[in-house]
């Protein structure tokens, strides 16, 4: 009898957990076919809601951070393109296996970058996306935003670069205070590849993950 109650309460807890999770995801799934600035605002809001509700992510719990990146960020990102552009002309020299391994290894770097950024999120954190400027029909756009944090601190300029794909808008590059992610990694990738080859780069990225 006792074990049965225990089982039931566990089931209930699981249902609650799953249900709540399911609800929070379903509530604000970003629409990739909306205007790019609206899409970015939806993605950012969804991530912020999840972060504010989960203290373990903010504390840098790697498993939870990676789960959140997988669930809420990567579906909206063309990370293969990010990696391909960061590898530049070396991408075509790599075998499909190496390309896949490189995407996976670089994804680890992204996870570490996010886990650092997430620790800074608090209840006052807000992302304000600015209206889109330039050509309305463009298929490659830059969306500008501003991250405001706790009172009396400097806001951070954060820009997103998006591409229109058959599945709607996908983010593929980020700009933090005038520095583009791909542009900055390009040089570091080229350095590693010219010295140790693609496999050397994959190894170096994976090694950083273990530190």
């Amino acid at each position: 009898m006792k074990s049965r109650i225990c089982f039931l309460s566990r089931l209930l807890a699981l249902c609650l957990l799953f249900g709540v999770n399911h609800f929070s995801h379903a509530q604000s799934a970003p629409d990739p076919n909306a205007a790019p600035n609206d899409f970015v605002q939806q993605v950012a809001d969804q991530v912020l809601v999840a972060l504010k509700a989960d203290a373990s992510v903010r504390a840098g719990n790697t498993t939870r951070v990676n789960q959140l990146v997988d669930d809420l960020i990567l579906p909206n990102v063309n990370f293969e393109k990010t990696t391909r552009l960061a590898a530049g002309r070396y991408w075509r020299q790599a075998t499909p296996e190496q390309q896949a391994a490189l995407v996976k290894a670089f994804r680890g770097t992204l996870g570490r970058a996010y886990s650092g950024a997430f620790t800074r999120v608090d209840d006052a954190t807000n992302v304000k996306v600015f209206p889109l400027r330039g050509d309305a029909d463009a298929t490659d756009v830059v969306v500008k935003s501003q991250v405001t944090q706790r009172a009396n601190t400097q806001p951070i300029a954060l820009d997103y670069r998006l591409e229109k794909t058959s599945q709607g808008w996908k983010i593929y590059d980020l700009n933090v205070e005038n520095i583009w992610l791909i542009e900055n990694y390009r040089n570091q990738f080229a350095q590693q590849i010219s010295q140790n080859g693609i496999d050397g780069l994959i190894q170096a990225l994976n090694q950083r993950a273990q530190q």
Partner: protein
């Protein structure tokens, strides 16, 4: 007591210097040389040295400061120093002939110094006006002076030949402009110390992120620095600048073909 402390500090500094020099010998130039960085080998050595000093002294002190002083107080102190710096930014914007920037910065200083309680509250940022950081290195750049080679200066860090000269002027103004207003030497030196600690503290999160994500911290910081400086010199024109073009349609030159391209299986 103070003398003993400074001797201890000096011996610690000397020790880290030795260690850094030894490790500096082991560093070598990596991969493709950057045309903006012909002095990469010696820059890397100074970078390692700065890093060792930072690890031994500046970073721990900044962490202790962050631990001991509550966030609102740190924000206040941070903003007061930034507000003082804005006066110099305003002067440089004027020298550069960027009257709109100068006017914005002037208004910001006026607002923050009065309603913002001497700069403690950054009211201007809260109303959405972005700070326009400026210094004499940017002024020289706007006047048409080429940046010259990238330089890593001891303690100061990333710079170029031009920015190093500009930094000299910045420091001179800071020392003899603001500094001479404070006649009490102890107080003045304490404020210089506080400024140094506070500056490092404000960078803790950034340097942690770089430690966590960069493949090669040296080139990460160098590229970011050069990019940021050229954006500052371009000024508001950089806002309208197109994002970088990544498409590389030229075939890879055979001579530069990377080794180990074949899978290792």
């Amino acid at each position: 007591m103070r003398i003993r402390f400074s001797i201890r500090f000096l011996s610690l500094a000397a020790c880290t210097l030795c260690m850094a020099l030894l490790s500096g010998c082991a560093t070598r130039t990596l991969g493709t040389p950057n045309p903006n960085d012909p002095l990469e080998a010696s820059n890397r050595a100074v970078f390692e040295l700065n890093d060792a000093v930072d690890r031994a002294v500046f970073k721990p002190v900044a962490q202790a400061y962050a631990f001991a002083v509550p966030q609102p107080v740190r924000s206040c102190i941070h903003n007061i120093f930034l507000n003082l710096g804005d006066v110099w930014s305003w002067f440089n914007s004027t020298l550069q002939g960027r009257q709109v920037d100068a006017l914005n910065t002037f208004g910001r200083v006026l607002l923050n110094s009065t309603m913002g309680l001497g700069g403690c509250l950054d009211l201007a940022s809260q109303t959405g006006a972005k700070r326009i950081p400026n210094d004499f290195g940017v002024t020289l750049g706007v006047w048409g002076l080429d940046s010259g080679p990238y330089l890593v200066l001891p303690i100061i860090g990333s710079s170029t030949l031009r920015d190093g000269a500009g930094r000299g002027v910045d420091i001179y103004v800071n020392q003899f402009g603001y500094g001479s207003l404070i006649t009490n030497i102890d107080l003045r030196n304490s404020l210089y110390g506080l400024e140094a600690v506070e500056r490092r503290e404000a960078l803790l999160e950034l340097t942690d992120t770089i430690d966590r994500t960069a493949l090669d911290r040296y080139s990460f910081i160098r590229d970011a620095y050069l990019k940021r400086r050229s954006a500052q010199i371009a000024g508001s024109a950089a806002q309208a600048e197109k994002p970088p073009s990544y498409e590389d349609d030229a075939p890879a030159p055979a001579a530069e073909k990377a080794p180990n391209m074949a899978p290792n299986k």
